[in-house]
Amino acid sequence: MTEPQNPPFALVDIGGLHKSFGPTEVLKGIDLQVSRKEVVCIIGKSGSGKSTLLRCINGLETFEKGSLCVDGQPLRHGDANAMRALRQQVGMIFQSFNLFPHLSAGRNVMLAPTLVKDIPKDEARTRAQALLERVGLGPFFDRMPDQLSGGQQQRVAIARALAMDPTVLLCDEITSALDPELVGEVLQVVEMLANEGMTLILVTHEMAFARKVSDRVVFMHLGLIHEAGTPDDIFNRPQTAELRQFLSAL
């Protein structure tokens, strides 16, 4: 699936990835290369393994077979330090936001940089404030998560992930838990990141959005990458019956 316009060195390089939950094999040999600054959307039915694949990339799930490298560094599950180094490069945003409910929005953003990167409190605070402004939440530094709407919480979660200066950001159905009128504000932020050149891998059900921001769309089916290509190819000229069926069912 190497595409001619991609540079030879992949930021995220996945080869022959297999993953089972007990007797159920959910990933049956995934090959995927994502280049720096590329925006890749993964689409597919629920149960096709999209989220599991994403969670393998930052080591939230282990896998049995295959290789996974981020920026040339292979993922080493047994090595806690190596995993922490990897996770500083790979940010993740979740469907259910997962903000820390006992900390204010600003402190959510400050926490990891002060603990993991030893950034002094004052500097972390200034940076957190700047990040919150970037996601349109400048005045909400001291709000607690339960005082924010879902869309605002998810934008804080994005700021929190950005605070670690990741080289790639994983988004796991980040608008699925939102009321429809709040989806736009979150997608706007993601689009801004895409335009700024952030490497993004998104699992999404927002097809219009996928079409708009992706450099490449990957369709997963039954634990395999069934079809991949430009948004134009995937949405306008689907090659396989499974993808046609998936798109027509939307």
């Binding site: 939230l60 259910s96 820390f100 006992h102 670690m164």
Partner: protein
Amino acid sequence: MVQFSLWDIFTFLLGALRWTVALSLIAFVGGGLVGMGLLLLRFTKLHGVATAVAWYVQIFQGTPLLMQLFLVYFGLALLGMDTSPMVSAAICLTLYASAYLTEIWRGCVNAVHKGQWEASTSLALSYTQQMRYVILPQALRVAIAPTVGFMVQIIKGTALASVIGFVELTKAGQMISNATYQPFLAYTFVGLLYFALCYPLSWWSQRLENRRLA
């Protein structure tokens, strides 16, 4: 025969109550510290460690406290340590409390949403940082009420230290009963004093629980 006034009995028991309180506090603080250590071990992914802690808890939950007291008291003597009843009781109740507290707190940690672990893992926090800054502050809110409630169990548990000869409230009641030949009167006083100690804690625990659920 020497006559004891009610006041004499009361003040004598009150003096012994201090030891019940002291032993309870030692067991609670000591048990809390050991229990917290065990809790941290319980959630590491180190091979076999969590299982070992689970067995530790099961052993203390699956045997009578009285028997544990005997084992510690006579066991320490067997090891050549010359221990007072006070030290034996303190050690035993500390271990006993640590097993129960670690189990209570384990439930509270499990009550924290899985997504909190995942989010803090994704932010590259270490295990101890996750516990210290993300998981335990949230578990604590759930833990306060059952922890205070368990203190009542410890206070009542100290009564058993009387059998290895430690003079706390129950033992003092026994002595009064022997001296006055009025066991019912003596133990009524003892019971009232335990109640005066335990009831406020139960009430407080209940209130904390209600406030949490409100």
